[in-house]
Symmetry: D3
Subunit: 274 residues, 6 copies
């Protein structure tokens, strides 16, 4: 997670601005403090090293001891980390650390619920590009901590021919053919399809992965049977915790879930001063 430093710097700059006038006005220089990060509900942890980075960027003298690791299931009331150092530094870092940790753990937690829901099927839960602008690296990391896997990271590390590319190219076959001839075969070529006819076209044109978009479970069943292992299949659209098991049972290889990063809920964590 090479991006941590940059994101934390930006977040601190945004939150503190030129100085923390309240702390400066009320806390005497040199006052020491000790605080702990405490879980107020159960969740899957992600971002503990990001929290550490927040305090260390503010003040190299702060001691931060993580008691839990990312990907760990946390119980309500458990202490995630101890922080010790200048009271001003702890007070200034509190909000940014929590803002990041609560969101990242929220994503890991939601992901873990989807992963649990498909346990025993062969389906893999993957994320999408529907991430919060500026935080994609942290959010994709959080998906991994929750047991999911990452789909492509950005527009240049994977070929995914969507409906609109097909329209602009003039058909699935020509779009795939163009991609084949212009992109080195180190990359798989994925194509979005909306019905069985398109699945058939994609298959004939030699797609590596076929995205089955917004299909019913019945359609997915047919599509998986049609593809019959000649390409990977990925389901997307209308995926939630109620529907995901049924989708997985159709035998699709991948299920992509935009909600992992656009509809998670920040978990509840407190920073308690001792």
């Amino acid at each position: 997670m090479f991006e941590i430093e940059r994101i934390v710097r930006l977040a601190l700059h945004e939150d503190i601005g030129q100085c923390d006038i309240t702390t400066q006005a009320t806390v005497e220089k040199g006052t020491q403090a000790r605080a702990e990060l405490v879980a107020k509900e159960p969740f899957v942890l992600a971002g503990i090293e990001v929290a550490r980075e927040v305090f260390l960027q503010l003040d190299g003298q702060v001691a931060f001891e993580a008691l839990k690791s990312d990907a760990e299931a946390i119980q309500k009331g458990e202490v995630l980390a101890w922080i010790k150092g200048g009271a001003g530094s702890l007070l200034q870092g509190e909000r940014v650390a929590l803002n990041l940790l609560q969101r990242m753990s929220g994503i890991a937690t939601l992901t873990s619920q989807f992963v649990a829901a498909v346990a025993g099927t062969g389906a893999v839960i993957v994320d999408t590009r529907k991430t919060t602008p500026g935080l994609r690296a942290l959010e994709k990391y959080s998906v991994r901590m929750g047991g999911g896997k990452n789909h492509r990271t950005s527009l240049y590390d994977g070929v995914l021919i969507k409906e609109n590319h097909v329209a602009a190219a003039g058909g699935i076959a020509v779009a795939i053919e163009r991609a084949r001839s212009r992109v080195a075969h180190v990359m798989k070529i994925e194509v979005e399809t909306r019905d069985l006819q398109e699945v058939r076209e994609a298959l004939e044109a030699g797609a590596d992965i076929i995205l089955l978009d917004n299909m019913s479970v019945a359609e997915l069943d047919e599509a998986v049977a049609l593809v019959d292992g000649r390409a990977l299949t990925e389901a997307s659209g209308g995926v939630n915790l109620e529907t995901v098991r049924g989708i997985a049972d159709t035998g699709v290889d991948l299920i992509s879930v935009g909600a992992l990063t656009h509809s998670f809920r920040a978990v509840d964590i407190s920073m308690l001063f001792q």
Copy 2:
């Protein structure tokens, strides 16, 4: 919103990276396209100019016509804007524009629900610093579009003495006194209190605003009566769409709601190519 340019630039850089290999591989240079942004559900709009900026940064030749304005209530099926230009530019901007627009409108929509819930009381709905790191300016703007108001933006544009500052200072009175002597009186001084005893102390020490944290409606009633207009009162903690009306009815001046920016849901908007 002076920050728009920077945020959009960062988001595009993150999403596109070095190039969009799919578009480059499948869409012939020079292909033109026309698309519309369509509401898939009702919501309060925020971010239409941000969406415009996305496409214009990618390609100065794109024409973007907004049909709706921020703060407007949108019905399902309504068209928010038309976009016309190079098909590649439209395809590349789609995800970033939607990622921003859906989140911003989600915040405006949630805010408008809180504002509606307290209609007729004197209470004002305000936001908190619990915003997404890197996007605070856009999120605070979205709160305004939803009819809320903004609390302080960062640690240096307002004095808010929290429980931990009080602890570090050694009491509410001394904390307020220090703030008074070190901060010019162009700023109001706000103090967090947890019970009536602390409210009394804050009042005696001359606080301008008294934050009533995590109090029951009964306690809020008492606190408001105790303060009796000698300071502004702000309720926080445990505020949701079920509880907010009862809180407002106690007569508090302000109600701060962290959920506005940490527990909103992205609204559903599509970009449809014609």
Copy 3:
């Protein structure tokens, strides 16, 4: 002062560019040196930690011991700090450290003279937005070190309705009313007035702070009497070390002085190699 790192980095980059060819050409690698920062005149110190940052950014091996603290009154000939380390690093940091320290101390010194001039009155000396572009955080800090207080930092952390806003809004009353209805009451609303009639309007419209711009001492007297504690009063315009006492004696609460940051004189400090 979260901005120190960024400002120092920029200043070093600007001054050194790609390398210091003189030092590189004349000083053998590994040569050690020791130097002291010496006051060549009496002043109030501001910026000693900024000077430390300059040398540490250049070379983590440099030892910097501050003998004086910011806000301290320094006598001519006193040593502010010792610096020990690679001769090249000391030579490269000298100019940037002095450029910052001399300016910051110049501001603190001038501020302390204004503060002394109003001693015993209730008036508080505050700064303005007339700061050097790029250095506002350091300059506002220096004002505090000289005993002054800070007015708003930038356009978004305070409402100050100036003559031109009044003109655009169509009158003082309507401008204040709009501000009231659009800005949360966590912020005070300040209005600029040019005569007693405007003071009266501002008062009736419920301004929290009334800026009395470019008024004579006689007018200030009348204005203060008129306001009679129902709002804070702030004098501005034509304030200098000769006039400030008379202004303070009128009983205004605040006196804002642009000269603190636009007409200070850099104090004289030398870096002497031993």
Copy 4:
């Protein structure tokens, strides 16, 4: 002045932050305004294009017409430029534009006074590295607008062997010799001297320029006679508007004046709305 864009962007970001809440609260969207920049005292203009950049960065629709050019002598009451456009944009740019224009013109004006004082002698007024951190490019430009010339811009575009380099190298001769052997002769080598003995050494070692530091007029006379055209001579230290003519009359080639950029006074310019 390739740096203008960056400096203006930084200055606007610093001054406006996330939004101008006063303008937003009091001025209706779409309100148009017209203003003029007016000289409140006589001065030499510098920075009119920087002022234009301020308004154009804020709003590409603003019309800015410069009536005066940099380097021009301005009379009290003259209009420097007209600005027309959205009232909000004009109000937001006002302070930053004035902060830059007043400082730059202050430098140009002070420089022009030094240049006038030495008129008729062969001496050239040059600046130093004692500039405001972050603004060097603008300040050196302003010196040129005032009729001065620029000494080296940063540590890598000129060799200037100062007292401390000499000490570290072990003597003037060895320092010059090292510089000769390590730096291509496309650059002149300048050496600081404190007395006639050092001048002699520098001359014998083949310095191209001899800096005569803190010498009296009598010493300067002797030094110039001693050098006798075999090197350029530059006087520095103790130079002010009272002493500069006497120094110039000694026949030195260059007079470097730190005060040009560290002790100038911002000139008085107003932005008047019509």
Copy 5:
């Protein structure tokens, strides 16, 4: 090529610094000029839009007309583009434009020679990560203009298990297995092998692509026969214009050539003023 703006900005900043003193000193403001970019030798063009960006960033008034397109084979003496505008802008942009255009076209030209050398075989010429730091996006683009294809762009858009990863994991099989279980199958897994035994292991472990590193043509023959279409094969190491045809004739699918970006020669292009 979303990166063009950033790279050009950096390059101009580096080359011009604070101002072009020669142009400023010798060319009168307002002087117009016209120049053409002329090929001094035959080559494959890449970067003509980058050259345009250089001049437009300097001066929005410059007219730049490209007469040739990227990927086109250029003859000695042909004119690539006309440029018309302020003489100062043309003089300032000349070196940066040529530095970029000559390098990019050098890469395209060398790539086209490799591509020509393997014509008729099925082998595809691909690049590596051995690119110039900071210019990867432009260099990979230039490879495409020369008829090559791009291998992965950076460490996160492809799995390539090299010898050292194998060593750290404890064997080819375990390394592939770990990658399979941790990375979504939207990505192909490539493994570096050094001999037939390793090829066999990689094949059994289910690698998608087998990198045959530094093998002789005889070994490549055997390896291709062994793989027999069950995975893609890629040759690397010891590839130059003499050896590449023999390597391609073994039937490998891909040949990666570090030299494309680390050992190209800048082509000769002049900017001639009329």
Copy 6:
């Protein structure tokens, strides 16, 4: 080399992006490794501290011990440095470190060959502005490590009047005269000439350095005789390892060689894991 930090940061960001998925997938956290940088051919070293910076930016726990210094002649098989630390950090830094080190040493090596070729003549080998965009500081440093010297770094640290400036000014004499009157004489003035007539003009106009562009050895002989020590002479154009000795023997003072930075070959260095 103040720029190292920035360049390395950019290069790592470019190469790693959001994470190294291969290392993450195949190497267990906590695995330690030890590697050495080994010369695969003889060369002159440049950049060893840049390589150190790469690994330290990635991971402050890595130990890097340099066994060779910049400017040293290295034999094939010699170890340049040892690196010890987390296997992941070593694997992630490998390519960036080699990309920089191989290029820098390539420049130093080529420069040393030119310097050796002119040994015994008085001619100095200098570089040009034909450097790789973004890497100029490192490349100019590498030239010094190879025994060459640096010509001006960018457009503002030296006056070099080229053919096109002369054309725009209307003649060599007027161009030099303008430069004299506008630039402080701390800088030398260099003029490009194409024949003896122009050399004569430049000499009469008082140029400090005369650039003899693209002249034959016979013309250079005549030009040097004509100048006869009244100005420095610099040869440029058509300089390669075959021609440089003959050029130097004409007695020119400087020989500028664009090839040093635009036509070097990256040397071969490996990072071997133990």
